[in-house]
Amino acid sequence: MARPSNLSDRTDPVWRNSDRLLLDSRLALAVGFGSLLLIMALAGADALRVLRDFRTNDDRIRRQFLFQNRVLNEIKSEVYLSGTYVRDYLLEPEAERAETYRASLEQLRKQMDAALQSYRRQLAPEGAQHYTALQGELAQYWQILGPIFEWDSAERRRLGYAFLRDEVFPRRQNMLAIADRIADINEQQLSAGNSQVVGLLLKFQSRLVISLVAALALGLGMAALSIRRILKLEIQVHSRYQEAAEARSELKDLSARLVQAQESERRALSRELHDEVGQSLSAVLIELRNLSSGMAKKSDEHFREHVETIKGLVEGTIRVVRSMALLLRPSMLDDLGLVPALKWQAREVSKRTSMDVSVAAELVSDNLPDPYKTCIFRVVQEALHNCSDHANASSVHIRVQQEPKRLTLSIQDDGRGFDSRQVKGLGLLGIQERVERLDGKCTIRSAPGSGTILSIELPFSEPLHDNDGHSNQEPRETNSHPVS
């Protein structure tokens, strides 16, 4: 069986492919550049966040340090002050004055308690031990101070100095030492906080490096991909251009051949006009001259002979002119419609060649629009020409069918066949042109040795006009049996 080759299928897979390719590369580019931008945006947002964290951390650490320092200093100065008040109280001979010192001391104690309380809230775990030590010392301090407020002025004078020297001053030294240690710890905390911030910065730096490297890698990848795509497209464009150029040159070649074909047809017509018609008319003229010059002398017999010759010449000329006219445009096509014209053509070809040509027509309207009947008639003419000149066929079957939405024609011969993928003669191209002009489809099935089937399909629906009240079904000719 021959392989079908659809000559007029224009939905070229290459075009669909290139569309898909274009879509693919667009998608790839969008995804690539999108993720590149995303990475950069994420890196930027990260940097901003880290900077903000850095600033708040730094702030917090500094503020805490300052606060603790201040509180500690306060406590320290209050410890000094309390020493002073205790001394003043012990040395004061007047009871009334001593009482004000005592009140100041009470006041001071409260302040120190409050400072300690607020310090406790900001306490770091490392400082807790020292804080408790400090608190313990303070509690003891106040405890030791307790009994002196019971003393009268004589006792104060007698015991005061010794008490100050043995109890108050060592305690005070102790407390100050603890406070110094706490201050040390605070310093340490400050530097720890600083190094924490530095660590944060380092981490951020490495993250920034990673995202920069990723962006760079992705960018490189994108660039490589785009370059590859572009190169590929370039190659495609080039090959497309090549194809177009080839098609153009093919077209040029074709039109040259068409012009040539037209010229040779004209030459044949001109030769026929000159050789046949012209010659005959010249002969008629000569005969007429003979007749008129010899009219007087010649006998009736001679006269009749000349007239007979003229008659024969004129009849022959009429035949030639008629067959030439039919060759140019068969009058049946206009007078009788498509099917009678096809049958006439089939009979003519059967007469002229050894092929047996049959026509089967189904429901074909007698008044098809001219482009359709001309197209089908010329296609049949060309196909019959191919069958007799190239295919060496002995029988050809032509079938025309009118369906509600289309006209179909098939021409089947039993000739040599050909490779329809390779051979494309001018005739076939002409057929294709005619069919495509009516948006039709043309299929050729053939292979060497297995005959040829040429099928065409024209989209067509009969116009529903009704000029003189007749149904347009009426003029159709139903004739399904072969007539030649």
Binding site: E315, I318, R322, S331, M332, D335, L336, P340, A341, K343, W344, R347, S350, K351, D356, H481, S484
Partner: protein
């Protein structure tokens, strides 16, 4: 040409030319007005073709027999003319020689073709039979059917045939149906052409 034909017809003592027309429409009007025995129509007339004119004249004046003049010897034209109701079909080439006989024939209800047409139909038929190698369907007909085929092709009605052959109308109709089935002919014009091809009539 019309003048030449008119002269020719008027030279016959038994003919009278009752009307002339220069196109198809006029021809129909004249035929409707005068109801002639025979109308001679050129197939290629301006305004209305001879085929169309023949159809309308047959409808308007059933007693009128029609002879069509044509330059086409193709069977498609002959069949179309017969379908339109023409009884005679003459080629213009040979009209002078055959017109008188054609008019007389169609007036008697017979069909008439130019000898060239008959010859061509017969030749085509013979060639077709030979090239197809098919069986000649005429061989399938009984002698009675052949007789009826001839009478039908000569333009006789079923009733006339029944009278001529001494058969009942029903029998003639049966024979006619059978022979049409055997020959695969579906209309009267096709039957006439077939008869010409087989030289049953000329």
């Amino acid at each position: 040409m019309r003048r030449g034909l008119k002269l020719l017809l008027e030279s016959q003592p038994e003919f009278a030319v009752v009307g002339e027309a220069s196109d198809g429409r006029q021809a129909v009007e004249r035929a409707e007005a005068t109801h002639p025995d025979v109308a001679v129509l050129d197939i290629a007339m301006p305004n209305l073709s001879g085929i169309e004119a023949a159809q309308r004249i047959v409808a308007a004046s059933p007693r009128t027999s029609i002879v069509v003049l044509s330059m086409h010897s193709d069977e498609g034209y002959v069949l179309r003319a017969l379908k339109a109701g023409a009884k005679g079909y003459l080629l213009k080439d040979s009209v002078e020689g055959d017109l008188i006989e054609a008019i007389k024939s169609v007036f008697q209800g017979k069909t008439f073709f130019s000898p060239e047409i008959s010859r061509m139909l017969v030749e085509d038929y013979v060639r077709e039979i030979r090239s197809r190698g098919v069986e000649d369907s005429y061989e399938l007909l009984t002698p009675r059917e052949r007789e009826i085929l001839q009478l039908l092709a000569e333009g006789k009605s079923n009733k006339e045939i029944a009278g001529l052959l001494n058969l009942s109308l029903y029998t003639v109709e049966t024979h006619r149906r059978n022979l049409q089935d055997k020959l695969n002919l579906h209309s009267f014009p096709e039957l006439v052409l077939y008869a010409v091809r087989k030289r049953v009539i000329s």
